[in-house]
Amino acid sequence: MNWFAQNISTAIGKKLLMAVTGFGFVGFILMHLAGNLSFYFGKDAFLKYVETLHTLDPIIVVVELVLLALAVIHVSTGTILFFQNRRARTTRYAVNKTAGGRTIGSRTMPYTGFLILLFVILHLSQFHFIDHAVQTPWDAAVDTFNNGLFALIYMAAVILVGIHIRHGFWSLFQTLGLNNEKYMPLIQTIGIVIAVAAAVGFFFVPVYIRAVI
């Protein structure tokens, strides 16, 4: 185990943890997005989807535990990286200018990440840690988005998720060593498509719910 601890704590090792857990999150977001699209087909269609999903309950428990583990690793490693990177430049420059490498996404990874964490905690308290016997997920959505402030928070949060993925997706392939003139442009494009799809797909759920209730 010593070799593992020694290598995973290096600059590259920590990034590999971010990449693998981030990849897991992207997978979850895509499944969650696909499932949530059934919101747009109305209450009955949505609850039918929820019912189908419940037949998979044993698998879902596993998925939830995996997600929790990924989240613990992603957030704790991200926090370590953030503070180590700040400490690596003790005296700041008087003039800061980009040479054109950074993007809005790459600049803001720790901040969008932290805000997403706050959002997920709020989201779980409103949708997951509720009494499912008295409240269906549809009811939870109606109750949440009925409140204009919460609707706005969700809409803002999913844009942050899009920004985080916009940089995170290609970045995770770079971290894994998969950067090549031939396929990097394709990876970049896929990242943008996923980021936009997630942001747009989730964004209109609150809008839709408020329109139909």
Partner: protein
Amino acid sequence: MSTQTIDLTLKVWRQHKNNPRGSLETYPAKGISTDMSFLEMLDVVNEQLTAEGIEPIAFDHDCREGICGMCGAVVNGRAHGHMPETTLCQLHMRHFKNGDTIVIEPWRARAFPVIKDLVVDRNALDKIIQAGGYISINAGGPQDGNAIPVPRDNAEKAFNAAACIGCGACVAACPNASAMLFAGAKISHLALLPQGRPEAKKRALSMVRAMDTLGFGNCSNEAECEAECPKGISIREIARMNREFIKAALS
């Protein structure tokens, strides 16, 4: 073409034993020929400062033709100035306008302590090399030139990575003061050649671990380094280093 001259205002980082915490000082630079290089401009300013009894500005330099990697400063927030693939010694004053104010700061990184003014200690880069950025040839006379076949493609990629002059601009430009581009170039350059393969595993592990102990930050794939590198080293060299590291860690 007639030679033009321009007048500039410099704001230069001064730090030495009488000013240990350092500060930006303002000096005029008048009548600077646009044919001069940035370092020649500093030479002219230093002559004026000396005449006025002010200690000249200390800066590193050697070849002054963009090949040794000694020079370097952050000019208006850009490592080696704003021109692409240019070292400070090859940056010409024609790229500045009359009346410009130019802020000149040393490379800033915890791993590069300031020695004096614009001169920083880049020994940390040497320590990364010492950890494995070489091949061991312990015996024998020289081999026949073509005894070890090298695919042309690999030879060219290795050559591109070997173009790194170790100037440290990548560290200076990185928002996290990470040395991944430098280490990536050095590891790639040897990993691509058959002569480098026998020690590839040991090299990847120990150079990466060395980088961590020297106080550099971690890579966030911001890609500022490749945009500032005077030798156009690509972050694909970082990806190659990561592959080498993963292979080495898993075997």
